[in-house]
Structure formats: structure tokens, C-alpha cells
Amino acid sequence: MDQEAGSPEVAIAISSTESLVEARQKGRDMASDMGFSQSEATMIAAAISELARNIVQYAGRGEIRLRRDGADMLYVIASDDGPGIADTRQALKPGYSTSGSLGLGLAGVQRIADHFEIASSPGGTTVTLGKRRL
């Protein structure tokens, strides 16, 4: 029996693109467990993939935390200690990218989010995504 699926918070260390698979799966599991539909769970898994990918690409290492808030809200908190995003507003415009994929990924995640926060400085970046179960 999967102990973690019932926990209110799960943390996944992100250190390589292999950890993306784990983060996606755990996100999907938690979403299904909370009663999100299969299509919503797929979307959450894809969003987690984008956030985790950014961590690997721009900071090398970081963490994804999955947190249930009440019965309906799932938060994905992606944090790293990397060099930060120079211009977050620019980064959120679809198509912006300094190296090919950052802008597209974040803009899409923001689009599907019910709650979205991004805080970035040279000391690190934290992106918070919230999804509410319909």
C-alpha cells in the first residue's frame, strides 16, 4: 500500500531528468487520490514535468513538493537554489526563451493554474502552482 499517497505533503528531490519520471508519477498519484479526474491528473503531471525540467536545466538540482490543501486543492512547489530568472515577466510570455524551452513551459503552466506564484532571485527560484479539483 502506498503510504505517501495519503500524506498531506510529499517531497521529491530533483537532480536529473530521471527524477522527472518519479515526480510526474507521484503528482499523478496524489491528484488521482484526491479525486481529480484522469484528464486533470494528466495535466498536473505534465505541469510538474515542466517545472522539474526547469530545475534540472537551470539549477541542476532542487525539489518538488506536493501538498494537499483541504479536499480540493493541490499545490506543486518547485524550488531550487539556482541563478534565478532575470526577468520573470518576460519569462512568462509564451515564446520567450534564452535557451529554447523555459518560456514556453512556464507560460503553459500559468495558463492552466488556479493559483500561480513565482519568486526568483540570484539565490534561487520558487514556483508555486495550485490546482483546484473541479
Binding site: D2, Q3, S37
Partner: protein
């Protein structure tokens, strides 16, 4: 089917030895007097007019199972089995019309029946009675809580499923021909319904191997920009599944909303009415071979 996991019950507080000894004694008493206590409980359930949706035999069968689970939970101090049983029981009795207050009521009745039998047994040793009750009460309260919470959660889950099923009925995806699906939409569409609709359509495309889908909006006078956006996304997702989408019955209001959100209506495959849309779909699928003179060529092709 994926089983839902309910929140885990927090680990039981540490039991000291004295309390454990008392509980063991208590459990032995409850097991010895199982027949009488169960009987008394079942009678009190009937007298309190609870579980009227069930027959006496059914009440007795469930009472037996609950009693045994109750005693087991007292003995082991673990509640997972009880929670699982409570959910299982709830799943069976909720469709019969049993209400939350009835379930809470019968568990509290059992607690009382057992407490009274303890009074009767230890009435001559007041100090011991107190100690036994000290050991019994927290456990009994947790049991009542576990059962009630399990029931409520199951109820919520069933209500959600029923709502989904009702929505399934009211937004049909119809297969009218081989490889051709029609989705007639009627009335107001909220985000939940829109999401369910899209899921049904996309799964329908896959399940029936549809190559053409006609989404008919004749019955929908207007939508807000979020739903309009959702419609466009549904069309795009259908294309990823290899299907062509024809939109029919577009009201001027919806057309304007689509334009407002940046859709190029010229690129969207639209036809005035449902009948026209079906005819075009049939042409695309090769059901109608000849185009009569003067008919326009279809604006989209099935295999882009």
C-alpha cells in the same frame, strides 16, 4: 478501477500496560457475552427506529459484523480494518437510503450497551469500574468517530459519482455512422460540464475510431470566453486524435466571442446547421460520392 485512498488515521496513542490489561479483560468480557449484548443492541436499534430501510435479519447480520469489528478494534487498538469495513458497509447501505444520523446513532447505541454491561459487571468494585471506563472511553469514541467519518466520506464519493453519471446522461456523444460522432449541446455550459464533455468526446473518438466529429451548438445561445476557449481546445485535441471537427449552429453571439478570443473563424470548419454539418461529414467520409452542381467544396479535409 483505481481505489480511492482515504486520509490515514493518526497512529494510536501509546497504551500503558495497566490500561492494556484492563482492555484485555474488557475484550474478553465482550466476547463472552457476545450473543446477549448483540441481541440487546439490535433490539435497541429497532426501538429507536433506526435502520428502518433494512429488514430485521439484515440489521442483525450487520450488527454482528459491526460488533465483531468493534471488539477487534478495541483489542488491537488499530482502526484500519474498522475504517475499511465502515466504508464497505456504507457503500452497501447508502443506496438503501440510510442516513448519517442513523449510522452515528447505532454506533453510539452500541457504545452505551457495552458501557452499561460494564456497569453491571463491575458495580461492586467502583474503583475498577472507573479504571476500565478510563481505558474504554477513548477507544470507544475513536471507533464512533471512525465509523461516522467513513460513512460521510463514502456518501460524498457516491454523490459525486451520481452527479457525474447524471451529467453523462445529459451530454450524449452520439455515433450516427461508422467513424462519425455527433455532439449536440444544449443549454448553459459550466466549466465542469465542459470538461466532462471534452473527456467524453475525446474518449469517444478513440473508442469508436471516429474520423469526423460534428459539434452542434444550435441549442447554446451564448458562452463566455473561457468556455469558448475550451471549445477551441477541444477541437485542437480532437485533431491530435486524427479527427476532423465540424462546428454547426454557431450563434452570432458565440461567433463574436470566438473572434474576441482570437479565433480565425475562416480556419474553423463551420456549417450553418446540424443537417448541413452531417452532410458534409458524410462527404468527407466518402458516404456521398457525387457533389451536385453548385454545391461548394468542403472547407476542410479529413486528412490534413
Amino acid at each position: 478501477m483505481q481505489e480511492r485512498e482515504f486520509p490515514k488515521i493518526p497512529p494510536r496513542p501509546h497504551r500503558d500496560e495497566a490500561a492494556q490489561t484492563l482492555l484485555t479483560e474488557l475484550v474478553a468480557h465482550l466476547r463472552e457475552n457476545r450473543t446477549e449484548l448483540r441481541q440487546e443492541w439490535a433490539q435497541r436499534i429497532t426501538k429507536a427506529r433506526l435502520l428502518t430501510a433494512m429488514t430485521e435479519d439484515e440489521v442483525f447480520t450487520e450488527a454482528t459484523a459491526v460488533y465483531d469489528q468493534y471488539v477487534e478494534a478495541l483489542e488491537t487498538g488499530t482502526f484500519e480494518a474498522l475504517q475499511a469495513y465502515a466504508r464497505n458497509l456504507s457503500e452497501r447501505i447508502i443506496p438503501r437510503g440510510v442516513e448519517t444520523d442513523e449510522v452515528v446513532g447505532i454506533v453510539l447505541l452500541l457504545r452505551d450497551v457495552l458501557a452499561r454491561s460494564l456497569f453491571a459487571k463491575y458495580q461492586h468494585d467502583f474503583a475498577k469500574l472507573n479504571r476500565i471506563l478510563d481505558a474504554y472511553e477513548p477507544a470507544a469514541n475513536r471507533i464512533a468517530n471512525t465509523v461516522a467519518v467513513g460513512f460521510v466520506q463514502e456518501r460524498e464519493r457516491i454523490i459525486r459519482e451520481q452527479q457525474e453519471a447524471i451529467r453523462d446522461l445529459s451530454t450524449p456523444v452520439l455515433q450516427v455512422r461508422e467513424r462519425l460522432l455527433i455532439l449536440p449541446m444544449i443549454g448553459a455550459i459550466d466549466p465542469q460540464r465542459a470538461r466532462q464533455l471534452t473527456e467524453q468526446l475525446l474518449h469517444g473518438i478513440r473508442g469508436t475510431r471516429a474520423k469526423v466529429v460534428v459539434i452542434d451548438l444550435t441549442g447554446v445561445p451564448a458562452v463566455d470566453s473561457n468556455i469558448a476557449n475550451h471549445l477551441v481546445q477541444t477541437v485542437e485535441a480532437s485533431r491530435l486524435l486524427g479527427a476532423t471537427v465540424i462546428v454547426t449552429g454557431l450563434s452570432p453571439a458565440i461567433a463574436q466571442t470566438l473572434v474576441n478570443i482570437g479565433v480565425d473563424l475562416g480556419k474553423m470548419n463551420t456549417v450553418g446547421d446540424l443537417q448541413g454539418g452531417i452532410e458534409q461529414a458524410e462527404r468527407l467520409l466518402g458516404y456521398r460520392v457525387a457533389l451536385s452542381a453548385g454545391e461548394d467544396k468542403p472547407t476542410g479535409t479529413a486528412f490534413d
